[in-house]
Symmetry: C3
Subunit: 109 residues, 3 copies
């Protein structure tokens, strides 16, 4: 058994979980937030048989797309009278960041 830990966009998490269920996988969703953008995202746990890793990665690729997120940079600490014109920054955020971890023991109680 492997545990797939996938950090995905909030907007993709629902479709991803439903697509996994259609292919008879089970999933658990956790609220999380990104270190850099400090925006809410989703961490999805999927426990699967060893031979299903490729299948799950394909489902993630099909349901999680990268996109550009516009962020307003935080104003730096300024002197009085200084003027800061924030130019919105475009940050490219990937579709998913995926870690596959070996499970030594799996139990359904």
């Amino acid at each position: 058994v492997k545990l797939v830990v996938a950090v995905v966009h909030n907007e993709d998490a629902g479709a991803l979980v439903d697509a996994l269920l259609e292919r008879e996988h089970r999933a658990t969703r956790l609220h999380s937030s990104g270190g850099f953008l400090k925006q809410s995202n989703a961490t999805v746990l999927v426990g699967i048989d060893d031979d299903k890793v490729e299948d799950v990665l394909e489902i993630i690729r099909a349901n999680c797309t990268s996109r550009t997120q516009v962020v307003n940079p935080m104003p730096p600490i300024m002197e009085p009278g200084e003027f800061f014109m924030p130019y919105p920054l475009e940050v490219e955020v990937g579709g998913a960041t995926v870690f596959v971890v070996a499970v030594e023991r799996f139990e359904r109680i």
Copy 2:
């Protein structure tokens, strides 16, 4: 050291954590939700010595019970004038889904 990752019912999580503490285990609780029922549940992390796995699984078995959850199925997309009588569905939800993962390095800072 092993990291036990247990997805359990919200109603069982408090008693489970207290039972683990009584046996000198430490635990951390995360809010999560089920992929299928989309209802809130709990994911509990328990870092333990290798020889305590059986002990922790016994504590989970003693504190987490399976139950039947009644769910109202989502109405399908319907033609105007069609009538949909949702029959509540009974879904059997297990007491706990448990993954035991090997920890290469453990530090208390």
Copy 3:
């Protein structure tokens, strides 16, 4: 690749994540709560190359400090007329509890 799972104080989590980003590490933050004190804390996931484990542990040591938390013990179940004078308890909470787990496969999608 290794996945570092660090349970830290809420007050340290922001500074920790920013310090990790400065050293070109990426991180995801999850809301969690402690089993014993039942107070909110933070679980930070950091996926890194194998040779960066020592670097990340140093950053955690530099940004997460242990502290004494004052807790009011829960009153025991009492007979009518009994008087319970809670003496605040001091509990020493460490800076971080860190698990390093091997990642079999890592994908950015």
